[in-house]
């Protein structure tokens, strides 16, 4: 019989076989990597807002406290997005005729809400409560990042379940004293580990088993 294949096929066939295996593995890892990448978690994405509100200006420069606008952050599951009225408290006198604030004034006139675009979008089926985190020593910037330096707010943390669990498993790395909760420039001290442990005790944090029970976040 004559040869069916050229000599080179010995190499080609072996190569292609190993390639298939290799690529399959690569694809799989690829998927897993991408799933964690900012591309999927929407980190660092700024959104087009009806009013180009700058946290950098209000928080960083003017030094307005978070709670001035996000009033219910200590008491409720929601931090709360300020009603137009809150804006008007100042902007009825300050910059009360600049064009880019027109949407605010219009909203106030027409009683039509401003429709802000959501930036932090928690995964479905999870019930997050701001107040308990604030009350148990988790500062704003631990999750939201340095909002005081964001002209337009973006999502700083991945907000994946794994990310939540990391903190619920050893919260001490993020715990702060009460008075520093709203400090946007808070940096963990060198001895955070033991400070955290102590704070955890003071705050009477629940055990890891309790904090990682499904019904702690899911209902």
């Amino acid at each position: 019989m004559a040869q069916i294949f050229h000599r080179s096929f010995n190499f080609i066939s072996r190569l292609s076989l190993s390639a298939v295996v290799f690529l399959a593995g690569l694809a799989l890892t690829g998927v897993l990597v991408v799933a964690r990448s900012p591309y999927i978690t929407n980190q660092r994405v700024t959104r087009e807002q009806p009013v180009q509100f700058s946290h950098k200006h209000h928080v960083g420069d003017d030094g307005i406290d978070c709670r001035y606008c996000h009033t219910s952050v200590e008491t409720s599951a929601y931090a709360g997005i300020p009603p137009t009225k809150t804006c008007m408290n100042c902007h009825s006198v300050l910059f009360n005729n600049v064009g880019y604030l027109e949407p605010v004034r219009e909203s106030y006139r027409t009683e039509q809400s401003i429709q802000w675009v959501k930036v932090h979008r928690l995964a479905d089926y999870v019930y997050f409560n701001h107040s308990i985190h604030i009350n148990k020593g988790i500062g704003c910037s631990s999750c939201h990042g340095a909002v005081n330096e964001m002209p337009l707010v973006f999502q700083a943390s991945p907000l994946t379940m794994q990310w939540c669990l990391d903190c619920h498993r050893n919260p001490q790395v993020n715990l702060r004293p009460k008075e520093e909760i709203f400090d946007m420039n808070w940096k963990a001290p060198a001895n955070q580990e033991e400070v955290g442990k102590k704070l955890a005790a003071d705050y009477r944090l629940r055990s890891t088993t309790e904090l990682t029970s499904c019904s702690t976040c899911h209902r």
């Binding site: 019989m1 069916i4 294949f5 010995n10 066939s13 897993l32 799933a35 964690r36 991945p158 994946t160 379940m161 794994q162 669990l165």
Partner: protein, 461 residues
Amino acid sequence: MSTTPPPGDLPEIRRLDPVLEPGHTYASVTDKIAAVVLTQPPTTGWIVGFAMSFIVVMVLFISLSWLIIKGVGIWGINIPIGWGFAIVNFVWWIGIGHAGTLISAILFLLNQKWRTSINRFAEAMTLFAVACAGIFPLIHTGRPWMAYYMMPYPSTMGIWPQFRSPLIWDVFAVSTYGTVSLLFWFVGLLPDLATLRDRAKNRTQQVIYGMLSMGWRGSAHHWHRYQSAYLLLAGLATPLVLSVHTVVSFDFAVAIVPGWHTTIFPPYFVAGAIYSGFAMVLTLAIPLRKAYGLEDFITMRHLDNMAKVMLATGLIVAYGYFIEFFMAFYSNNKFDVFLAQQRLHGPYSHFYYALILCNILTPQLLWFEKMRRNVAVLFVMSLVVNTGMWLERFVIVVISLTRDFMPSAWGRYSPTFWDYSTFIGTIGLFVMLIFLFVRVLPAIAIAEMRELVHEQSDEEK
């Protein structure tokens, strides 16, 4: 492998039909089997059969699409009967698969010559049965598109499967079983693929079989490693095949439902699996040898032996049924006793009696050589047993769930159109795959047949 039988058996062997009709040479067996694939044009019978099975596969396709659109609610399942046809079919198909592995692995280890001419398509049958079975665990879930949650992979949620659940064991057992069967099959095919490659007339055939055979040359080195690999695979497949149906039986035995929670399940599930498996091999072998004139290779000896295996496993199954009852009354557990009574008098008792008829009473005919050697009877019998084994799974799954702990929650189950269409659809898939198989691959292991010829000639010396 020495073939000269111990003197004591000699007359015995003589009296039996040969496993290969005399007068065959290496060339003749090769020609005859390879011809089916290479030269013979598809018969009208094949075309019609294939077309019909293809239509049935379309039915399966439609059923599955509708299932995805609407949800499992289109089936007859409810609370308390959370599992219906889907699981019944799953267990049934998986069971059927087992005969293939048994023939190719266990009989190989036991050095049973007669396995040679049937192991190839028995293994094919295994693969296709597993393929059909594999569909069900996936689609019976409420959210099949989430089924990957059952795989252990590093998700961004940081959660993992729950390894105490028999369903996870299933995932691993069935996928392992599928993979190993495939490997085993392929290894067995290698030399024959080479044969086809060498005998192929046109270029396409040459290339395809050439690629598949990976340049097998049948050199002494090849054969040497080949044999040790094959032996090892056989050795591995044997415990595997037993474990698979054991695990499947755990789906029930591990649960606390009366009628499920019993230790007899693993052995009698395995026996039942082999039982139904051999029935299915017969169902396939009998028409096959007729259609392609392979009576010389699949001789009465084969049918006879398979019939005997059926009889034996059938009796084990019967014992299983008996023990179930015995244990119920012996333990005097009120739930088990009640369930036992329900099987006899409950709303589904007719299923139970039908099961006894198919699986225990009818096979007793196999005690008679006359029956074992009557091809028609064997064929019918194989069908009966297959039905019986399906009923057995129905009885286990449904009756137990209709009558469990809380009388206030008792209910009943009746399959809907979609239950049936899905089931029949998988049968269609199975048949279609078999049809394809006999056209493109040698239905009998040629190389092993040549060995057989060689040994026969030795015997004659």
